[in-house]
C-alpha cells in the first residue's frame, strides 16, 4: 500500500478523532489549569486545581471508594468468570441457549440495569430481595441509606453487568488450551482442582490478565450504575471518581469545571500507565514488521 493511499484511507477517521477527541482533550487539559465556567474564557491559575483535588477529603474518599470497588469487583469477576466459563465450556447442545441468557445483563444499558437492581432491593418499592432478606434476618437493611449495604449493592450490580464479558473472553481462552495437555494430566490421575490450578490456569494466564486490565479500566470509570443505585452517594461516601467529576463540573452549573478537568487529567495519566504493557506490545510489533 502506498503512503498516499494510506493517508487517504485513514483521513476521515483521523479527522473525526482529531476534531472530536483530541481537541476536547486539549480543552480539558487547558481547563484543568484555569478557573472557568462554560462559555467563558477562564483565568489561568496554574496547578491550583490539582492541589485542590489532591487535598480535598471528598476527592480522597471518592478515590478510596473507586479503588475498593475496583479491587472487589475485578477479583470477583475473574473468579466467577473462570468458574462460569469452565462450566459453560463443558456444555453441548444447550450452550447457545445458556450463553444467550448469560449475555442478557451485558446488553442491557447499565443505568437501566441499575434501575432494575434498585427495584429488587428497595423496601419503599416492595423489593423482593429486600423482603426475603429482612424476613430471614428479622431486620431491615437500609440498602440506599447506609454506606456498606449500598456498597455491596453497587458491587453486586457492577459484577452482574460485567460478568458476561469476563466469562466470554475467558471461555475463548479456554478453547485454546491444548486438549493433549489436559488429557495427559487426566491420565496421570491429577485431581480436578490440580488440573485447573497447575495446567489450565497457567495456560490462560494472558487471557485472565487481559480481562483484569479491561475490567479495571471499566470499573475505575464507574458512573451509570451509581446514578440509579446511589442517589445519596455524596452523603454516604460512595461517590466514584467519575461521579465526583460530574457533581463538581456539571451538576451545579459547572461551578468547578477546572477542578473536574484536573481530575480527568489525573485519571487519564493513570489509565495510560496501566495501558503501558499493551502500548509496548504494539510498538514492538511495529518495529518487527
Amino acid at each position: 500500500m502506498r503512503r498516499r493511499e494510506f493517508f487517504g484511507f485513514v483521513a476521515p477517521s483521523v479527522l473525526v478523532m482529531a476534531g472530536l477527541l483530541v481537541l476536547p482533550l486539549y480543552q480539558t487539559i487547558a481547563w484543568s489549569l484555569q478557573r472557568v465556567n462554560y462559555g467563558e474564557t477562564g483565568t489561568f491559575v496554574g496547578l491550583d486545581n490539582y492541589t485542590h483535588a489532591l487535598t480535598d477529603p471528598r476527592f480522597g474518599q471518592a478515590v478510596l471508594f473507586t479503588v475498593e470497588l475496583t479491587l472487589v469487583v475485578v477479583a470477583t469477576l475473574i473468579v466467577l468468570g473462570y468458574l462460569l466459563a469452565t462450566l459453560v465450556n463443558g456444555l453441548g447442545r444447550s450452550r447457545p441457549f445458556v450463553l444467550g441468557i448469560l449475555l442478557v445483563s451485558y446488553v442491557i444499558p447499565q443505568v437501566v440495569g441499575g434501575a432494575m437492581f434498585s427495584w429488587l432491593f428497595n423496601s419503599n418499592f416492595g423489593g423482593v430481595l429486600n423482603f426475603l432478606l429482612s424476613t430471614l434476618l428479622g431486620q431491615d437493611i437500609l440498602w440506599f441509606a447506609s454506606t456498606w449495604p449500598n456498597r455491596i449493592m453497587v458491587a453486586l450490580n457492577t459484577v452482574w453487568s460485567m460478568l458476561p464479558f469476563a466469562m466470554l473472553v475467558i471461555l475463548a481462552g479456554l478453547q485454546s488450551v491444548p486438549e493433549e495437555v489436559v488429557e495427559a494430566a487426566q491420565i496421570d490421575g491429577a485431581p480436578t482442582w490440580r488440573l485447573h490450578w497447575n495446567v489450565i490456569i497457567p495456560t490462560v494466564r494472558g487471557t485472565l490478565g487481559f480481562v483484569a486490565i479491561i475490567s479495571i479500566m471499566d470499573v475505575l470509570r464507574a458512573f451509570d450504575q451509581l446514578i440509579a443505585l446511589s442517589p445519596q452517594a455524596v452523603q454516604l461516601g460512595n461517590e466514584s471518581v467519575m461521579l465526583y467529576v460530574f457533581n463538581v463540573a456539571f451538576q451545579d452549573g459547572g461551578q468547578q469545571l477546572g477542578l473536574g478537568s484536573a481530575v480527568n487529567v489525573l485519571l487519564i495519566a493513570l489509565i495510560c500507565l496501566m495501558l503501558y504493557p499493551f502500548i509496548r506490545g504494539i510498538a514492538r510489533e511495529a518495529r518487527h514488521a
Partner: protein, 293 residues
C-alpha cells in the same frame, strides 16, 4: 473437568471409565449450578417484568405481591402520558446514524491500518487504544461547551456525532483485527486483475468481511443504544434518549416509576432477543475486539 462427551470418550479409551454414576451426578451438579446462575442473572429483569404488569396500586407495595391479575396498563400509560415515543425515535436515530457513519469512516481506516504495518500505524493504533479507555467526561464536557457555542446542544445530531467519535477507536480495532485475517494475497490478486486500492476494498475485501462488518455494526449500535453519560450531558428535552428518560423518572413517585419500569422493559426486550439472535457476532466481537498486543 472436561464434561464434553467427546473428550470423556477419548479419555475413556485409555483409562478405565470412571463409574457412570459419578459422571451423571457431576452433570446434574453442573446443570443445577448453571440453572441457578442463569436464574440469578435474569432475576432483576424478571422482577421488573412482574412489577410493570401488576395493577398500579399494588405494583410497588411492601411486602411485595406475588399473585396478581396481569395488566398492560403501565405500557398504555407510558405511551399516552409521556413522550416515550419521541425518546425511542431519538434513541434509534442516534444509534442508526452513529453506526452507519462510524462504519463508513472506520472501514477504510481499519483496512489501511491492517495493510500497512509500520510506525505510523502503530502510533494511530496506540492513540486509538488510549482514546478507547478515556474517561468520558474528559471529552464530553468540552463537547457540551462546544455544542452550546455552535447551537447544536440538545439535538440528535450532536449526540450521534459525539458517539461516532467516542466509538471510533473501538470499531477501528475490531475491524482491523478482522481485516488482518484476510490474506494479503487476495489484495494482490485483485490488483493484478486491474483493480485500484478503492476498488479492491469495495469489490473484493468488503464482501469477504461480511461477518466482521456485521459484528462491528452490532457493537456500534449496541453502544449507542446503551449510552447514558454522553446523552445525559448533551441533551435536555428534545433529543432525550430512553436511558436518560428512565434515569430521570427514577426519583419520581408511583405511576411514573411504574412507567419507567415499562420503558425499561420495552428497551430491554429487543436487546434480549438480540442476545439470542446475534449471539455468534457478539461472541466474535468480544474476542476480536480484544487487543492482541
Amino acid at each position: 473437568m472436561t464434561t464434553t462427551t467427546e473428550r470423556t470418550r477419548a479419555v475413556a479409551d485409555v483409562v478405565p471409565a470412571p463409574p457412570r454414576k459419578r459422571w451423571s451426578a457431576r452433570r446434574y451438579l453442573v446443570g443445577g449450578i448453571l440453572v441457578l446462575t442463569c436464574w440469578a442473572m435474569l432475576s432483576p429483569v424478571i422482577w421488573t417484568a412482574m412489577s410493570v404488569t401488576k395493577p398500579t396500586d399494588v405494583a410497588f407495595l411492601n411486602p411485595p405481591v406475588f399473585f396478581y391479575q396481569p395488566s398492560l396498563q403501565s405500557f398504555v400509560d407510558l405511551w399516552q402520558t409521556t413522550q416515550f415515543y419521541q425518546y425511542l425515535i431519538n434513541t434509534l436515530v442516534v444509534a442508526v446514524i452513529s453506526t452507519v457513519v462510524a462504519l463508513l469512516i472506520g472501514l477504510p481506516a481499519a483496512y489501511a491500518l491492517a495493510r500497512m504495518p509500520g510506525w505510523i500505524s502503530a502510533v494511530l493504533l496506540i492513540a486509538a487504544l488510549i482514546f478507547r479507555a478515556l474517561p468520558r467526561f474528559a471529552v464530553v464536557l468540552p463537547m457540551y461547551d462546544l455544542s452550546r457555542a455552535l447551537g447544536i446542544y440538545d439535538t440528535t445530531f450532536a449526540v450521534a456525532a459525539a458517539l461516532v467519535a467516542i466509538n471510533q477507536p473501538f470499531s477501528i480495532w475490531l475491524l482491523r483485527n478482522f481485516f488482518a485475517e484476510i490474506p494479503k494475497e487476495v489484495d494482490e490478486a485483485a490488483m493484478m486483475d486491474g483493480c485500484n486500492r478503492v476498488q479492491t476494498l469495495v469489490r473484493v475485501i468488503i464482501p469477504l468481511m461480511g461477518p466482521g462488518i456485521l459484528t462491528a455494526g452490532i457493537f456500534m449500535f449496541l453502544f449507542a443504544f446503551q449510552e447514558y453519560l454522553t446523552a445525559t450531558i448533551l441533551t435536555d428535552i428534545n433529543a432525550r434518549t430512553v436511558p436518560v428518560f428512565i434515569a430521570t423518572q427514577l426519583g419520581q413517585t408511583l405511576p411514573m416509576l411504574q412507567q419507567a419500569g415499562a420503558a425499561a422493559m420495552l428497551l430491554t426486550l429487543p436487546v434480549i432477543a438480540f442476545a439470542f439472535i446475534a449471539q455468534r457476532y457478539l461472541v466474535a466481537g468480544l474476542n476480536a475486539g480484544s487487543v492482541k498486543g
